[in-house]
């Protein structure tokens, strides 16, 4: 075991993480929050979601699904960003690639951690998914492909550490293809539901892949800058150039998402399509307007896009602000996507008495704690990764 680890962990070189008290305190806090999240999750499994979660018959998917989608979107995005350099050979993207591969593993594991508590009987999955495999189910494909994806990404990471670049590239390509297939299937989980007008259509899988690429760019900028600032490392010229390229790619993806969003809103309002119109208006002027305009539009699109353009991706402090706003905004996007899609009740528009026009959902304490636990776990993995893998520096190419 020690020999195996020794082959993977860099013994020297790279960047030394600061072993300060602050670092240990941060690790301790994140570990505590992770444990708290798991405890809340386990308690909800025992006590039942009926008593601990804010989800209901009408809105069966809550903030945990949103957080899961957020994590896997980020993971797929990080995989896409890492492959730009490692698989497709754009050298500008090489300096961030190792960290991106590591974080794509950390984020997907955090995603699995969260969804394990949203699925009421996750222990029935290993057997049920095999003996009951339903090939028409997008959620089956998504789960199976993400399992394979995690495997490929882990092999890729190990091979990168062992400097076996040919094998790493092959597995990186396999991971990328699997990730894209899995992620578009996650989009299809929503998009192929004919009864949910807000989601229904080919838009979802395409939207998911594009926002994954955007999230990946934002996430790698966010984590790289934190790693360098927190440890007092100095960015090499290559790394700065790399960040600039990633930021520009991120801005391009944001432009596409902005374009998508504008047309989605216009299409949802024009001609009042039943079911879709009500959901779109909930976002534009209704109870989710604050989420939409401040969270999605301002934080998720306008601020990061404008900041990256203004500094041309060159000012690290500005990039950090852009990526922080982006991370928060993207989370709100996922939340709104999952929740608002369910708020229109099944028998809407039939002139029913004592029947809600719009359902409501508020995340419970348990749900918030599990999400917080997932975020903390991801942060914990990130900090440990920086220390163990010495700043994920790519030695040569």
């Amino acid at each position: 075991m020690n020999n195996l680890l020794a082959g993977i962990l860099p013994q020297a070189g790279g960047l030394e993480a600061s072993g300060s008290g602050k670092y240990s305190a941060a690790m301790g806090l994140l570990a505590l929050l992770s444990v708290l999240g798991v405890a809340a999750g386990v308690h909800s499994l025992i006590a039942g979601h009926e008593h601990t979660f804010g989800v209901s018959r009408g809105v069966p998917w809550g903030i945990l699904i949103a957080a899961y989608v957020f994590f896997v979107v980020t993971s797929t995005g990080l995989c896409i960003v890492s492959s730009v350099g490692h698989v497709f050979g754009f050298e500008n993207f090489n300096p961030i690639a190792k960290r991106a591969v590591f974080l794509s593993i950390a984020t997907i594991v955090a995603g699995f951690l969260v969804i394990a508590f949203e699925i009421e009987n996750s222990w029935r999955m290993p057997v049920g998914n095999v003996i009951g495999a339903n090939l028409t189910s997008n959620i089956w494909w998504m789960g199976t492909l993400y399992g394979a994806y995690l495997f490929f990404m882990m092999i890729e990471f190990v091979m990168l550490q062992k400097e076996q670049h040919k094998i790493a590239t092959a597995f990186g390509l396999a991971g990328l293809l699997t990730g894209v297939a899995a992620h578009s299937n996650l989009g299809a989980v929503f998009g192929l539901l004919n009864g949910r007008e807000f989601w229904h259509g080919p838009y979802m899988p395409i939207y998911f892949i594009t926002s994954a690429a955007m999230s990946g760019c934002v996430a790698i900028i966010f984590f790289t800058i934190i790693a360098y600032k927190a440890n007092g490392w100095k960015m090499s010229e290559g790394m700065k150039k790399s960040m600039e390229s990633v930021a520009k790619m991120g801005a391009l993806m944001m432009a596409i998402i902005i374009f998508f969003t504008i047309w989605k809103m216009i299409a949802g309002v024009t001609g009042n399509p039943p079911g879709k119109y009500e959901a779109i208006m909930t976002l534009l002027t209704g109870s989710y307007a604050l989420n939409f305009w401040v969270g999605e539009v301002l934080l998720g699109m306008a601020i990061p896009f404008a900041v990256i353009l203004v500094v041309r991706g060159r000012n690290m402090n500005a990039l950090f602000v852009a990526s922080l706003a982006g991370m928060v905004g993207i989370f709100v996007m996922r939340y709104d996507l999952v929740i608002v899609g369910q708020l229109i009740p099944s028998y809407h528009g039939m002139g029913l008495v004592d029947y809600p026009e719009l359902l409501s959902y508020v995340p419970s304490l348990h749900e918030n704690l599990v999400v917080l636990g997932g975020v903390a776990f991801c942060g914990l993995c990130f900090l440990m990764g920086e220390k163990l893998f010495r700043g994920h520096v790519s030695e040569h190419h």
Partner: protein, 250 residues
């Protein structure tokens, strides 16, 4: 630069790459793409072929026999809720859930006058059930003989995708069995034990609900949906689920 110098320079094009290498790369790409393409196509195909153009299948073209279905004579419902009580008792439905319920419609007749209609709803046992398509573990399926959409509680992982997929809000999560629960036309509690109707049908004092085999030309459900001058509709036909609960205005 002279032409002689140019000739000495080694070419940078892909000609130097051995063709085996290129072939291997292409093969890998084809295999991976093929696998995922196959999967995506499969995930887009519907569960089974369904016949019939209108809301009622064409005579003689029923995917099942017995093809169980229910006709709701909406106008007769007075909202006494005895169907709900019978369902709860027969199928052990907990207080926080329901397999069937009654919705209230109100239409203005001008001025202060209103017309109220009660609309019983339950699982529509669709011919193209969205819930069945999305279930990752086939914990829910359309019974090949009766067409009843059935649940196996032990297989349910509780992902609740079927609940979001159902256009009729016919499913809920039952804590007691740790699985999604739904109407099964009383198959487990009654039909499988030799009884011929559901608990809600038996309990209804106004003869609102009529249950039977649509494939049987002599059955009451068949006669009701094929009666002349009768308006027949289903709920949310736009979802393409092809429901087997028919509403009539007579």
């Amino acid at each position: 630069m002279k032409i002689d110098d140019l000739e000495k320079i080694t070419s940078e094009d892909l000609g130097g790459l051995p063709s085996v290498e290129r072939r291997n790369f292409l093969k890998l790409g084809l295999v991976v793409t093929g696998m995922y393409l196959g999967g995506s196509v499969l995930s887009l195909t519907s569960v089974r072929n369904v016949y019939g153009a209108g809301v009622v299948p064409e005579v003689g073209k029923y995917p099942y026999n017995p093809h169980y279905s229910m006709v709701i004579r909406e106008k007769l419902c007075v909202d006494c809720e005895r169907c709900k009580e019978a369902c709860v008792k027969t199928n052990h439905v907990p207080a926080y859930g329901f397999r069937t319920t009654i919705l209230e419609k109100r239409r203005s007749l001008g001025g202060e006058k209103f017309e109220t209609t009660f609309m019983p709803v339950l699982c529509n046992h669709c011919n193209r059930p969205p819930c069945v398509r999305v279930c990752p573990t086939t914990a829910t399926w359309k019974d090949e003989k009766t067409g009843i959409v059935t649940m196996n509680p032990d297989r349910c992982i509780g992902c609740k995708t079927c609940m979001t997929a159902c256009p009729y809000n016919a499913r809920y999560f039952k804590e007691e069995t740790r699985s999604v629960d739904k109407c099964d036309f009383c198959f487990e509690s009654r039909l499988s034990k030799g009884q011929t109707t559901t608990a809600c049908v038996e309990a209804c004092p106004a003869d609102v609900r009529v249950f039977g085999n649509l494939a049987d030309l002599k059955s009451r459900v068949f006669k009701l949906v094929h009666a002349p001058e009768t308006m027949i509709w289903v709920l949310r036909p736009e979802t393409g689920a092809n429901p087997n609960v028919f509403y009539i205005n007579s």
